[in-house]
């Protein structure tokens, strides 16, 4: 992990390259995080990749309900030579949950991005095949959002398939 100073230096560098790209930094429990502007997150990740953080260890979503903007997409980057980790956070609104896809930088982001789309409804612009991955293709709603209730869903049979899904409201 870069220390708190190292993180600020990285944030400065990224701001020099693109003024609005980094909104802030967080450093807690030895974890360094950059808060990125969602529209410009692709450029931030590209620069971090060129800087040595060449391995996308994880990409996942998180719902910050009731904070706004609610949905967060987290990128855990890893520098395998310096053995250093940094995470990048981008928060988007539930109203227009759009964020650029990073599949062109890391082909391995394909499945994780589909999972975040499936679970949180974040749309990754430029993703080659953005479909649901774990839930059924015709599922309605985004189950990992905090306002999505747990349980109580009827079992799907042929006779009730027409009025089964999406009837929790």
């Amino acid at each position: 992990m870069p220390d708190a100073t190292g993180l600020e230096l990285i944030a400065h560098e990224l701001r020099d390259a693109d003024g609005d790209s980094v909104l802030g930094t967080e450093f807690a429990h030895g974890r360094a995080a950059l808060i990125a502007e969602p529209r410009l997150v692709h450029g931030v990740l590209e620069r971090l990749k060129a800087r040595g953080y060449g391995f996308l260890a994880s990409l996942h979503g998180c719902d910050y309900y009731p904070e706004e903007p609610r949905l967060g997409v987290l990128y855990e980057l890893l520098d395998m030579h310096e053995v250093d980790r940094i995470s990048v956070k981008a928060r988007v609104d539930t109203g227009a949950p759009h964020i650029p896809s990073v599949v062109d930088l890391w082909p391995g982001a394909n499945h994780p991005e589909r999972e975040v789309y499936d679970m949180f409804g974040v749309v990754f612009d430029g993703h080659p095949d953005l479909r649901r991955i774990l839930m059924p293709e015709d599922y309605e709603g985004f189950p990992q959002r905090r306002d999505f209730p747990i349980g109580g869903e009827p079992v799907l049979f042929t006779y009730n398939e027409e009025n089964s899904y999406g009837k929790w409201q």
């Binding site: 807690a28 429990h29 030895g30 974890r31 995080a33 060449g54 391995f55 996308l56 260890a57 994880s58 996942h60 979503g61 998180c62 719902d63 987290l74 855990e76 395998m80 053995v83 980790r85 995470s87 890391w106 082909p107 391995g108 982001a109 394909n110 499945h111 994780p112 999972e115 679970m119 649901r132 991955i133 774990l134 839930m135 059924p136 293709e137 015709d138 309605e140 189950p143 990992q144 905090r146 999505f148 747990i150 398939e161 027409e162 089964s164 899904y165 999406g166």
Partner: protein, 413 residues
């Protein structure tokens, strides 16, 4: 038109008949559906394979058949009740799931695990790694037609499960690793039994090698089959034995030691070309290395408490409940509400038998996590299937899938 019928229409439009795209009988593409309940897919994995004759032109893995929403369930449970839930994700490496989750929570709580607890964790993690590799070896050999390997591997696995039962009372999903340490100290007789196993295991691994290494069929099915180079694997996010088989010695136990792994001397087996044979050899060599780690951990097992003395996190010992009011209050608090974790986020990566297993936990200050996510290595590694088997024979697809070692419980969560 409703979404359901739209989906039905698309499903019905998939034709499984052959489609001629060129001249003659040799130029046709066949879409073949494998799974989701096919013994060679190692779980409920569905593959849509496009074949040209015997040759695989494209593979699309379709997953989600065992998605049970464990991550969602975890958000509704107190931290210590999450442990049995996450253990059921990757059902062959339950100690690793628990370890990743507990590690993340310990990071947020900023508590230290006592040395004995760390060593006991290492012993059980490495036993689990051997167990997981044995299941992989047995079932993979079965896919290649070597029936007897299955019985030999499961014989040793049985010994390990007996050891798990001794230390925790359960054979699978043991809930042994707790936040702050481990559930209980090892019982009497455990050390002797484990020492006998450690002595026996390298000899058994030699026997597996003798059965497979000189087997012409196995060698033909594995050597130079479906290699994938290191850079492609890194781009796809592949870690673990698959990456090491391609020659990259990346192992979190060495690179970012956790739970006292830096106290032990062990090697990281690597391959050279990254074909199926290297994948097999790397995992087989890890059986020896894990045994060595267990041997050293057993030798240097420190005395002391097995779990943190912090009563706000760990349950007080049973005997204190009868005499100490304070202990009774803490016990009651922990069992009813659980402990609260200060606000924050943590990502805790460990080296599971399949690669980097990272647990992301977001705490909102209450007694339940606001988000638990497992970066499961099988989920990411599965993406390497298509580039690996492209333009290979369909029989090699089965062998490669076996060498990939995906666990569908971990993929779907």
């Amino acid at each position: 038109m409703s979404a359901t019928s739209d989906y039905r229409r698309r499903e019905e439009s998939i034709t499984l008949s052959s489609e001629t795209i060129g001249q003659g009988e040799t130029h046709e593409l066949l879409t073949l559906n494998i799974g989701p309940h096919h013994p060679a897919t190692h779980g409920v994995l569905r593959l849509l394979v496009t074949l040209e004759g015997e040759i695989v032109r494209d593979v699309q893995p379709i997953i989600g058949y065992v998605h049970t929403g464990i991550e969602k369930t975890c958000e509704d449970k107190a931290y210590w009740k999450v442990i049995p839930c996450v253990e059921r994700m990757d059902y062959l490496s339950y100690y690793f799931n628990a370890m990743a989750f507990c590690g993340a929570v310990e990071t947020l709580l900023e508590i230290e695990v006592p040395p004995r607890g760390q060593y006991l964790r290492v012993i059980h993690l490495e036993l689990n790694r051997i167990m997981s590799h044995l299941v992989w070896l047995g079932t993979s050999a079965l896919d290649l037609g070597a029936m007897s390997m299955f019985w030999y591997c499961f014989r040793e696995r049985e010994t390990i499960l007996d050891l798990f039962e001794m230390s925790s009372g359960q054979r699978m999903h043991t809930r042994y690793i707790q936040v702050g340490g481990v559930m209980e100290d090892i019982p009497s007789g455990f050390v002797e039994k484990l020492a006998a196993f450690v002595k026996d295991m390298p000899h058994r691994a030699d026997q597996y090698a003798a059965l497979l290494e000189q087997n012409e069929i196995v060698l033909q099915r594995l050597r130079n089959v479906c290699p994938l180079d290191e850079q492609t694997l890194l781009g796809l996010g592949v870690t673990g034995p698959l990456l090491r088989a391609a020659g990259n010695p990346w192992d979190l136990r060495k690179a970012q030691p956790y739970s006292s792994y830096d106290h032990f001397e062990f090697k990281i087996p690597v391959g050279t070309v990254g074909d199926n044979y290297d994948r097999f050899r790397v995992r087989h060599a890890e059986l020896y290395e894990s045994t060595r780690i267990i041997d050293q951990a057993l030798e240097g097992l420190p005395e002391g408490p097995h779990i943190t003395p912090d009563r706000k996190v760990a349950l007080p010992p049973r005997h204190e409940l009868a005499t100490s009011m304070e202990a009774l209050i803490h016990h009651f608090k922990l069992v009813t509400e659980g402990f609260r974790v200060p606000e924050g986020e943590a990502y805790y990566p460990i080296e599971s038998p399949r690669g980097e297993l990272g647990c992301f936990v977001r705490a909102d200050g209450s007694a339940k996590p606001a988000r638990v996510h497992m970066r499961d290595p099988s989920f990411v590694n599965l993406q390497a299937t298509a580039p690996m088997v492209k333009d290979a024979y369909i029989a090699d697809l089965i062998a490669t899938l076996a060498m990939l070692d995906p666990i569908l419980g971990g993929i779907d969560r």
